[in-house]
């Protein structure tokens, strides 16, 4: 009886934090994550993990997260540490100072952007082009600009390439913002949509090398929901992007994420040569069929709350991995790649037996939506990683003449672990 009661209240709890529009309930993957007493990192446990001056026992926190995720009421605070915005070894005072400093920096960037496009920060968004490809400012052609464009500071042609590139991507951000997590009640609010738009617009100005690429909206959306302060949300997104931005680097012939897809193909080739060969035979070389999973980190395959849980578990995985030093940086591929590998492995039989073409592969992988367990997938990913690394190390070992040389290569120094 008590168990049933607890479970029900946990459900209500989640619903209260990330409510879904009733008319959309059938269209989104069902949430599997449950906050569980004694397992989930609770506000109380979180508080208790800090020393008097604010040092955080991150190992303890991560172990807790691994057991049962983070309670929604403190997700934002914990994420700031998980994403690396703050050093767990810093003090309360240091962090307060850093936060102030970052908020001011964000404020300055925002003003800079507002000076070029006043709609930024106004609570509205742009979905239609404001400038032509050759830099001519366009007259207001969309209903949601109202009369704002009369105040535009820039009314002559845009000659600065950086400014033009940025202005050209703003409508794309808008088009995507209105299609981001719209099943959540949170984004019924235009203010919240505008917050997401502002953060993405300002990010693409600051990181103009990458700019804006579809999918970044899926990465940024949780930060907007979890962090109330827009500047704090921006910095969380910015830190997440430090690890992800290369995936979004586009050239005329490729997209950055293809590097990870190529790693994925190497991993499957090593741990499951039969499946790899089958996928190659089906013309699935370089694994483009797994594009979406990596690009938006399983946001589409999991429910909102489960995707968050998965991201949290991944941080634990990273922590565990710190103990596995390979000494070769290219072996430290993102855990996400191993997650995708684990998904492919769960579908191994079906893929081998039923996939007669790439369309079947896409279909079989599409069926995972809403049917994956985040924790299982993460545990599998870690196992695959271990298997892959050990097989790779064996391969490396054969290339070296002596055990000493091998250890030097693997561990970076000869004396470490050589005796074992």
């Amino acid at each position: 009886m008590a168990g049933i009661f607890l479970r029900k209240s946990a459900d209500d709890d989640l619903h209260a934090f990330y409510p879904i529009r009733p008319e959309c309930a059938a269209d989104v993957p069902k949430a599997r994550f449950r906050a569980r007493a004694g397992k989930t990192l609770s506000p109380r446990k979180w508080q208790a993990a800090f020393s008097e001056d604010g040092h955080l026992d991150i190992a303890k926190v991560l172990r807790r997260i691994q057991k049962g995720g983070i309670h929604p009421s403190i997700k934002g605070l914990v994420w700031e540490f998980l994403l690396g915005c703050f050093d767990p070894d810093s003090t309360f005072d240091e962090r307060t100072q850093l936060r102030q400093c970052r908020r001011q920096q964000y404020g300055r960037w925002k003003v800079e952007c507002q000076n070029m496009v006043p709609i930024i920060g106004s609570g509205k968004i742009i979905t239609a082009a404001i400038v032509s490809d050759d830099g001519q400012m366009l007259q207001d052609s969309s209903a949601n600009n109202d009369s704002q464009d009369q105040d535009w500071h820039v009314n002559s042609a845009i000659s600065d390439k950086k400014v033009l590139q940025w202005m050209l991507c703003l409508p794309q951000i808008g088009l995507d913002v209105v299609r981001t997590d719209r099943a959540l009640v949170f984004y019924e609010s235009e203010i919240n949509q505008a917050k997401l738009w502002d953060v993405l617009a300002i990010y693409s100005w600051v990181d103009n090398d990458i700019g804006y690429v579809q999918g970044m909206n899926d990465i940024a959306s949780p930060m907007i929901i979890l962090l109330e302060n827009e500047a704090d949300a921006f910095w969380c997104f910015e830190h997440a992007m430090r690890r992800l931005r290369e995936n979004f680097r586009c050239t005329t012939s490729s997209i950055g994420v293809q590097t990870q897809l190529s790693t994925l193909s190497q991993i499957i080739k090593t741990i499951d040569p039969k499946l790899h060969q089958h996928l190659e035979d089906l013309d699935g070389g370089e694994y483009l069929f797994a594009f979406r999973m990596l690009m938006v980190l399983f946001r589409r395959e999991f429910s909102f709350v489960d995707a968050l849980y998965l991201w949290e578990l991944k941080q634990y995985g990273k922590f565990v991995r710190k103990n596995v030093k390979s000494g070769q940086s290219d072996k430290q591929s993102a855990l996400s790649v191993f997650l995708v590998a684990s998904v492919l492995e769960t579908k191994n039989k079906k893929l081998l037996k039923e996939a007669k073409g790439l369309d079947d592969v896409v279909k079989i992988l599409g069926d995972i939506t809403g049917n994956l367990d985040a924790k299982k997938a993460c545990n599998e990913a870690l196992k695959i990683q271990k298997k892959y690394l050990s097989q790779e190390l064996m391969g490396v070992a054969q290339c070296y003449h002596s055990a000493d040389q091998f250890c030097t290569q693997i561990f970076g120094c000869a004396e470490q672990n050589c005796n074992s």
Partner: protein, 205 residues
């Protein structure tokens, strides 16, 4: 084991971001429209079976991401296409202006045997918006463009109001069928009874 020959037609839907590619496909296949679609990442497809005259065909409709930056992925997804559907939004000039680019890129990347006869179809979507008052691309302008590309069939549609969607896709299927790329699909009554080698053997005949 029952083995039937069917025709699989692969259709690629292209066009600027937000013109309604996903909506059109979903209206056609699932008979529904949602305001909550997400931007397509990578590529995905839906299938629909239909009968054209006395032939049963399976239409496999591939949805793609609209941001120009994803065009480099085309090579992988366009391969083996039987028809290409170009979509623009009648209310957004830029989505019409970029049609040339989509048309050209498709031919370049899919490299069909004979580019001059490869079937395209143009859909002008969102004709319902504001009762047509916000439209910026006239029917004539669109038809002129179609004529300049070798008389591409043109349909004006509304995925939201389900206007002309069935008619457009029927025409797409017919165009694809004419450019047929036959492929066998095997339907197994009892999958367990069929060994892999038997299936492979079946493929060869």
């Amino acid at each position: 084991m029952s083995v039937r020959r069917r025709t699989l037609l692969k259709v690629i839907v292209l066009g600027e971001s937000g013109v309604g590619k996903t909506s059109l496909m979903n209206q056609y296949v699932h008979k529904k429209f949602s305001q909550q679609y997400k931007a397509t990442i990578g590529a995905d497809f839906v299938t629909k079976e239909l009968q054209i005259d006395d032939r049963l065909v399976t239409l496999q409709i591939w949805d793609t991401a609209g941001q120009e930056r994803f065009q480099s992925l085309g090579v992988a997804f366009y391969r083996g296409a039987d028809c290409c559907v170009l979509v623009y939004d009648v209310n957004v000039m830029k989505s019409f202006d970029t049609l040339d680019n989509w048309h050209e890129e498709f031919l370049k990347q899919a490299s069909p045997a004979d580019p001059r006869i490869f079937p395209f179809i143009l859909l002008g979507n969102k004709i319902d918006i504001d009762g047509g008052n916000s439209r910026v691309v006239s029917e004539k302008k669109a038809k002129d463009w179609c004529a300049s590309k070798g008389n591409i069939p043109y349909f004006e549609t509304s995925a939201k109001e389900d206007i002309n969607v069935d008619a457009a896709f029927l025409s797409i299927a017919k165009a694809a069928l004419a450019n047929e790329h036959e492929q066998d699909i095997y339907f197994q009554g009892i999958p367990e009874a069929v060994s892999e080698s038997e299936q492979r053997g079946g493929c060869a005949c």
